[in-house]
């Protein structure tokens, strides 16, 4: 169950090596208002009163373990692969020996500690502890743990210790649960020094554990108890927990034989946890009636009546004295905690331990309690990633303080209110429990109420972000590649359809998606039609165009303003995405939309196409036949003709065309003048452009096909074509080969001539312009490729140009006069003259070279 959060103060953040703290990494030792923190290769001294860093000590290799000798205030540091270093200070806090170098930044002294501070040079030591003037060093040697004891007092003048005063060995027993311990020091062993409690000593020292006499005697034997020998308990990563006394006396548990040749004593095994040992501790678990608050009796030195062994897998073993009536027995009890346990400390009857995700507190069961419950109830504080913890000597009124170091190197001070603890132990009555449950449930409900819309909002946002991502990807794909590899392409083709019993010209656009993305809803294809006068635009929404798929859109080519089609029509395509799609909530509430209505779309221009009249012509299938009735276009050509057509049919019998209509239909033959316009192209150009390797087809038919590719089937090879423009004007088109003399009379240039014959001037002009434009394209292309131009007589060109210029002047003057003078007669004569000029210019016509 969760309990009230302790108050947390962040004290300092230490520089943490990359990748977090290593397994040995961190330790903290509080001492008299200061904290020594070891992280990586440095030891930091931090003052809790002044809340600032006092000093930093840097070492050459990584620090595995630090220990403080509380009597002399010396700090021992184990540097991996190097040895044990000793830092001593005098009364004023200065180091007794001069370090290699020292700098000072920002009021903090940084000392670099070198080999001269080393008091025990041995790269194999992996853990140590200092107690009762003995240094206990544990090293790993092949398959055995070696424990060596050194006498601190007998250091020689250089500060080094001579050889060990005692050596012991214990072999590693790997269990299936533990990993390969021999390789690398993944977890160091743990050492705890306990001694016998004596009533006479009153000094309260937090780092010394004294055990009550009966438990001490039961566990370690009467000999050690009578000699007052401190005992060191070792826990190893393979789960073995052994102990040995600091004073060598025989104990009933060791076996000495006469023939013992090995020096190593077999250390008596206290317990085998079968999981790496993480913590060894001793505490007073039993609270007798007289002391309801163990913290106020701080003046009496409390003895511990319970030894704790804590394994990494969550196994906690308590060793307590057994029933006195049975004599010297002691009990082992196993409990299960939440794994994996990283660090722990105990204060009073509580054990605080940190796992990867939490700090939890369990109450150690009283020694005499029954054994029913193996899993202890715990209270958790919701503080994750704590690497090391250490209690500070308890202060007034029983507020417990402890320091903790997080995985990222932050030092924090936790204050647990003592009242919380007692509340945990108070039992709730039924009604209170019920009330509490109700409160909790309503809290849960309100929290979930608040949580669910937030959740949906988050989902929405995620969705929008996804879409935005797609949009941006598509935009990038489209914008970065232009030209032939456009990922999104449009093809346009004019079509004749029948709408409301009338033929009309529409354009069919096929949108191809060659990207890897789906064009989902929100994308619109905007089509803008523009002619010389006006423009319209259409917009189609693209719904789910999968990659490698096409979509067809059909839109009319006739704009609304003018009923006549004016060619050429320029069509531009663009893909537009409205960003409002991203914000779905704006559909419900337009006010709160993230995007303003106006500037909220992404526009990707695609291609431009030009449709000219040659693509929209309707041809007679066979010459000589009248035009199919369907070809009659939408708008009447001439009011008179329209009147005649409509009126003439009333008297006829149904099924028979009337004479008038026939006459009108054959109107073209009644017109006096058929206008002709022609364009000539040098054959060379056509050769270059249109001729292919295998061609027996003539240039003329090739040209026909090229000009009228939309309507003319390939099989036919006509010489002349009859057709009707979209506006309903008839025309004839003829292609033939000629020789052009006008530019070089001596050498005629072989050319192909296109003749446009039509009774209607507007159709003629339109077609003429369209053909010229098409052929110009060919000629330009040919010029770019470098055509050999035929020999031209410059004189003849000059003559032609002069002639044409005079004509041009005449045209201009006539036009000006027309505008100025509103004389009808002049008008008609002017018009006739213009028409003549027109005809002259158009026949024989331009020659393209």
């Amino acid at each position: 169950m969760a309990c009230a959060m302790p108050s947390v103060q962040y004290l300092a953040g230490f520089h943490c090596p990359a990748g977090g703290l290593a397994a040995h990494g961190a330790q903290l030792i509080p001492w008299k208002g200061n904290v020594y923190v070891s992280i990586g290769k440095s030891v930091y001294e931090y003052s809790m009163e002044k809340k600032c860093m006092l000093a930093v000590y840097e070492f050459a290799t990584e620090i595995w373990c630090i220990e403080l000798d509380t009597k002399t205030q010396q700090l021992y540091i184990l540097c991996g692969q190097s040895g044990i270093y000793l830092l001593q200070w005098d009364e004023k806090g200065r180091l007794l020996k001069e370090p290699m170098s020292a700098t000072s930044t920002g009021g903090v002294n940084i000392f670099f500690i070198g080999v001269e501070f080393c008091c025990l040079l041995d790269p194999s030591i992996c853990y140590f502890t200092v107690c009762h003037e003995v240094l206990v060093a544990v090293s790993m040697n092949q398959n055995k743990w070696e424990i060596r004891l050194f006498n601190i007092r007998s250091s020689d003048h250089k500060g080094n210790y001579p050889s060990a005063i005692r050596e012991m060995e214990i072999s590693v027993k790997p269990t299936p649960g533990c990993r390969d311990i021999c390789k690398g020091n993944s977890l160091p062993p743990v050492l705890l020094c306990v001694s016998l409690w004596k009533k006479e000593e009153l000094a309260v020292d937090f780092h010394e554990f004294t055990i009550e006499p009966s438990l001490f005697t039961f566990l370690f034997g009467i000999d050690l108890a009578m000699v007052n020998s401190p005992v060191v308990i070792c826990g190893f990563p393979d789960g073995q927990v052994v102990f040995f006394p600091l004073k060598t006396v025989p104990s009933p548990k060791s076996d000495f034989t006469d023939n013992q040749t090995k020096s190593s004593t077999r250390l008596p095994l206290l317990y085998n946890l079968e999981q790496p040992v993480v913590f060894l501790g001793a505490t007073k678990a039993q609270i007798s009636d007289g002391e309801n608050n163990p913290w106020t009796n701080s003046s009496n030195k409390l003895f511990c009546d319970c030894i704790l062994l804590l394994g990494q897998g969550g196994l906690m073993v308590t060793i307590t004295a057994g029933n006195k009536a049975e004599g010297g027995t002691y009990e082992f009890r196993e409990y299960h905690l939440k794994a994996p346990v990283k660090s722990a400390f105990c204060s009073g009857p509580n054990l605080y331990y940190s796992t990867c995700s939490d700090i939890q507190c369990v109450v150690i069961p009283q020694p005499g309690a029954d054994l029913q419950n193996r899993i202890l109830s715990y209270s958790s504080y919701n503080i994750p990633m704590i690497r090391a913890m250490s209690p500070i000597s308890c202060c007034s009124e029983g507020d417990k303080e402890f320091l903790a170091l997080s995985d990222k190197g932050k030092l924090m001070l936790f204050i647990l209110k003592q009242s919380e603890d007692t509340a945990q132990r108070a039992r709730l009555s039924c009604s209170q429990a019920g009330q509490r449950i109700k409160e909790l449930l309503s809290q849960i409900a309100s929290v979930s109420e608040r949580a669910s819309p937030l959740k949906s909002l988050i989902e929405q946002r995620n969705h929008s972000l996804l879409n935005l991502n797609k949009v941006v990807a598509i935009s990038q794909a489209v914008l970065t590649s232009r030209g032939a590899n456009m990922p999104v392409r449009c093809k346009v083709k004019p079509l004749w359809t029948r709408r409301l019993q009338q033929d009309c010209l529409v354009a069919s656009c096929i949108l191809e998606n060659k990207t890897d993305f789906i064009l989902e809803s929100g994308w619109n294809l905007c089509i803008h039609l523009s002619t010389e006068g006006s423009g319209t635009s259409y917009s189609f929404s693209v719904m789910n165009l999968q990659p490698e798929e096409n979509m067809e859109f059909i839109f009319p080519l006739v704009t609304e303003e003018s009923e006549h089609l004016e060619f050429p029509i320029k069509i531009t395509f663009a893909l537009v995405y409205s960003l409002q799609e991203l914000d779905k909530s704006s559909f419900q509430d337009p006010q709160s939309s993230l995007f303003s209505h106006t500037q909220s779309s992404i526009c990707l221009p695609l291609q431009e196409h030009i449709i000219d009249i040659l693509q929209c012509l309707r041809l007679k299938p066979h010459t000589g036949q009248p035009f199919p009735t369907t070809f009659h276009c939408m708008s009447p050509l001439d009011p008179v003709e329209a009147f005649l057509r409509s009126s003439g049919g009333a008297e006829c019998k149904p099924g028979q065309p009337s004479a008038i209509s026939k006459a009108i239909c054959n109107a073209e033959s009644n017109y006096a003048v058929t206008l002709v316009a022609s364009v000539r192209v040098a054959s060379v150009i056509l050769h270059r452009a249109l001729k292919k390797e295998d061609s027996d087809t003539s240039l003329c038919s090739l040209l026909f096909h090229w000009l009228l590719s939309a309507e003319l089937p390939l099989s036919q090879n006509p010489v002349e074509v009859h057709g009707m423009t979209p506006n309903g004007r008839e025309f004839r088109l003829r292609v033939g080969e000629v020789s052009a003399y006008d530019l070089s009379p001596a050498n005629p240039i072989p050319a192909t001539e296109v003749q446009i014959i039509s009774p209607h001037l507007d159709a003629l002009a339109c077609l003429h312009l369209a053909v010229i434009r098409r052929l110009q394209i060919l000629a330009e292309k040919c010029n770019q490729d470098g055509c050999i131009s035929p020999e031209i007589n410059l004189d003849s060109i000059q003559k032609q140009v002069i002639a044409r210029e005079s004509l041009l002047k005449e045209v201009k003057s006539l036009l000006d006069n027309l505008c100025v003078r509103k004389d009808l007669s002049f008008e008609s004569s002017a018009k006739k003259r213009l028409l003549c000029l027109y005809k002259e210019l158009r026949d024989p016509g331009l020659l393209l070279l």
Partner: protein
């Protein structure tokens, strides 16, 4: 370019080695240890550089020399041989083999050596290979792999060497091989080495002989052990090691029951190295065995003084020969047995005190025991490096003996204080009742509880005696009662499961229990007598006699009491019976007494007026009674 690299490396090696050689000549002071450490670090770095390139026949000799130097420096700096040294050598061998025949699979060191040496090697490789072989031999000797060393060295020999003959005793093969090993001369070498190979060979020889001698001694093959140790003593070694060898020799002779020779050797050992205190210790033990209490006490006091005085480090360095690997590094303490272990001071003190008590020197005994108790409580213990396999006393027994000596010295109060201590500790361990199975071994817990009961009751006995002699008879009665109550808790049973077994597991304890009970009853009886309650006294004496009929003085006491109470006929008949059984009872008691602990002496001595006078008196009265009866 390889030539240039080679020269560079060679120069670097020589610079490092000459730096080391130029500084100091001995390797025992800490600064020198640090220098050695630095030297090792430099050499190791150089080795890594050389080993970074693939092996070539031209660079291999230098590589081997550098490896040799580096490993020796490391061993000398840290003072012990590490397992990784074997790995270094194995790696170098693999490289040697890789030059000749690539594709070497993982093999053990021994196999690698065989391949390298049998496969032939260039002449300029001879000296380095021999050197490294010597080093490997040293490493293997440290691990006591004698056979491997023998094989290795024999493959180093030329075929015409004399050692290859087969008619040598097995133990001497290794030594013969070592003797015959001709080391190629190093005069032509350009690379300096930190220890010449001849020295190394001699060290190996000494170590091999010493090691084999120790093993033979442990296996009780004493004649060959003596030969080997003598051989070792004659070859190159430091005085400290020589002292150890002499100690071992003395030990062998002691086992061969030649005490004088043994004593002589030990004296020689002490003269060589006065820190070799095991010799003193053994001498003291020998004196005790010979019954020479004075000499023993003298030796023990010398030993104690020597142990307590601070050991001067500087003195050792002057007697140390200056090589980096000496015999003591190879034949490390782990392989030395009880022969060369020196005991801890408190044990010496204990031996002194005990022999004083045993020889009834009360004052000295009391003094020593009190010193011992203070020593035990002292925080600063000088520990011994190796545990002493001599059966060490239990601490409560030490306390009880101290109390006994104090009683002997008539320091009753002090005796009672000491007993209080024992009682305080044992109180928690004593159960309500204890049932001990005679026919089966009991688990350690029950044995310990039994011990606790016996100790506690002995303590009560002491206290009762002291109180009685102090004049507080009522207290004395209480104490004796407590003792009896404790003893009554124990029941010996026969479950009958192991009837075919002849040994009784707890016969000593049972006997002691009876004696204690008897002593308690008798003591209480005595107190009652002093209080004037003669009837109760008689009852107690009778109970005591019931429990242990052979208790000295009990029967006569009973007779005396009967007479005092006026039951003369009973007294007379009992006395007659007693006279008949006197010898057999005395025999019984003699057999019993041997197993009794020392601290029970005050109680099984003669609490009553002199035995003889009483006997004389009783004899007279017996004659009287007989004459009366005849009348």
């Amino acid at each position: 370019m390889a030539g240039d690299c080679l020269t560079l490396w060679l120069e670097e090696n020589n610079v490092i080695v000459s730096q080391w050689q130029g500084s100091t000549s001995c390797a025992n002071t800490p600064t020198d240890k640090q220098k050695l450490q630095l030297c090792h670090a430099d050499l190791y770095r150089l080795l890594q550089k050389i080993q970074g390139l693939p092996a070539s026949p031209r660079s291999l000799p230098l590589e081997m020399s550098v490896l040799f130097n580096a490993v020796i420096c490391h061993i000398s700096a840290t003072g012990r041989i590490h397992g990784e040294h074997n790995n270094h050598i194995a790696e170098a061998l693999v490289r040697v083999l890789a030059v000749g025949s690539p594709g070497v699979t993982e093999q053990s060191s021994a196999e690698l050596w065989q391949r390298v040496l049998r496969g032939g090697y260039a002449p300029d490789m001879a000296a380095p290979l021999h050197r490294v072989a010597g080093l490997q031999g040293a490493l293997w000797l440290a691990e006591e792999k004698l056979q491997e060393v023998h094989d290795l060295i024999s493959s180093l020999l030329h075929p015409e060497d004399p050692a290859c003959s087969t008619h040598i005793r097995a133990e001497e093969k290794l030594l013969a091989v070592l003797r015959a090993w001709r080391v190629p001369s190093e005069s032509g070498e350009r690379a300096l080495v930190v220890q010449p190979v001849q020295q190394l060979r001699d060290v190996l020889y000494t170590s091999a002989a010493f090691l084999q001698g120790i093993r033979a001694m442990e296996a009780s093959q004493l004649p060959s052990a003596i030969d080997l140790l003598r051989e070792a003593a004659e070859s190159l070694c430091s005085s400290r090691v020589l002292a150890q060898m002499y100690t071992c020799l003395g030990f062998c002779f002691q086992k061969l029951e030649k005490p004088q020779t043994a004593l002589q050797y030990w004296k020689q050992a002490l003269q060589l190295d006065f820190r070799c205190l095991a010799a003193l210790h053994h001498s003291a033990a020998l004196y005790r065995a010979m019954g020479n209490v004075e000499a023993e006490l003298e030796a023990l006091s010398l030993l104690y003084k020597a142990l307590l005085s601070p050991q001067p480090e500087a003195a050792s360095s002057s007697t140390q020969a200056c090589f980096l690997i000496g015999t003591e590094l190879i034949v490390k303490a782990p392989s030395l047995t009880c022969a060369v272990r020196s005991p801890s001071p408190w044990k010496v003190k204990y031996l002194t005190a005990r022999s004083c008590l045993a020889s009834k020197r009360g004052e000295e005994a009391a003094e020593h025991y009190l010193d011992l108790l203070a020593l035990l409580q002292d925080e600063a213990h000088q520990e011994d490096l190796l545990p002493n396999p001599d059966p060490a006393p239990r601490i409560p027994e030490v306390f009880l003996e101290a109390a006994a000596s104090l009683v002997l010295e008539k320091r009753w109060q002090d005796a009672m204080t000491v007993c209080e201590e024992v009682l305080g500790r044992t109180a928690e361990l004593i159960p309500g009742s204890l049932s001990v199975d005679r026919t089966q071994g009991s688990p350690a817990g029950i044995a310990e509880q039994l011990n606790c009961i016996l100790w506690a009751s002995a303590a009560h006995l002491h206290q009762g005696l002291s109180q009685g002699l102090l004049g507080d008879h009522k207290e004395a009665v209480t104490e004796y009662t407590k003792c009896i109550n404790l003893l009554v808790k124990v029941q010996f049973t026969n479950t009958g499961a192991g009837e075919e077994m002849e040994t009784d597991w707890h016969s000593t304890e049972e006997a002691m229990l009876c004696v204690l009970k008897a002593a308690a009853f008798l003591g209480r009886g005595r107190q009652f007598l002093a209080l004037g309650k003669q009837k109760e006294s008689l009852v107690n004496v009778q109970l005591g006699l019931q429990v242990s009929p052979a208790f000295p003085g009990a029967a006569l006491t009973r007779v005396g009491l009967l007479r005092t109470l006026g039951r003369r006929t009973e007294a007379a008949s009992y006395l007659q019976r007693y006279r008949g059984e006197r010898e057999s009872l005395a025999e019984q008691w003699g057999a019993l007494k041997r197993d009794l602990p020392l601290y029970l002496d005050p109680h099984i001595g003669d609490p009553f007026p002199a035995h003889d006078s009483l006997t004389g008196e009783l004899d007279e009265s017996a004659e009287e009674m007989e004459s009366e009866a005849a009348v």
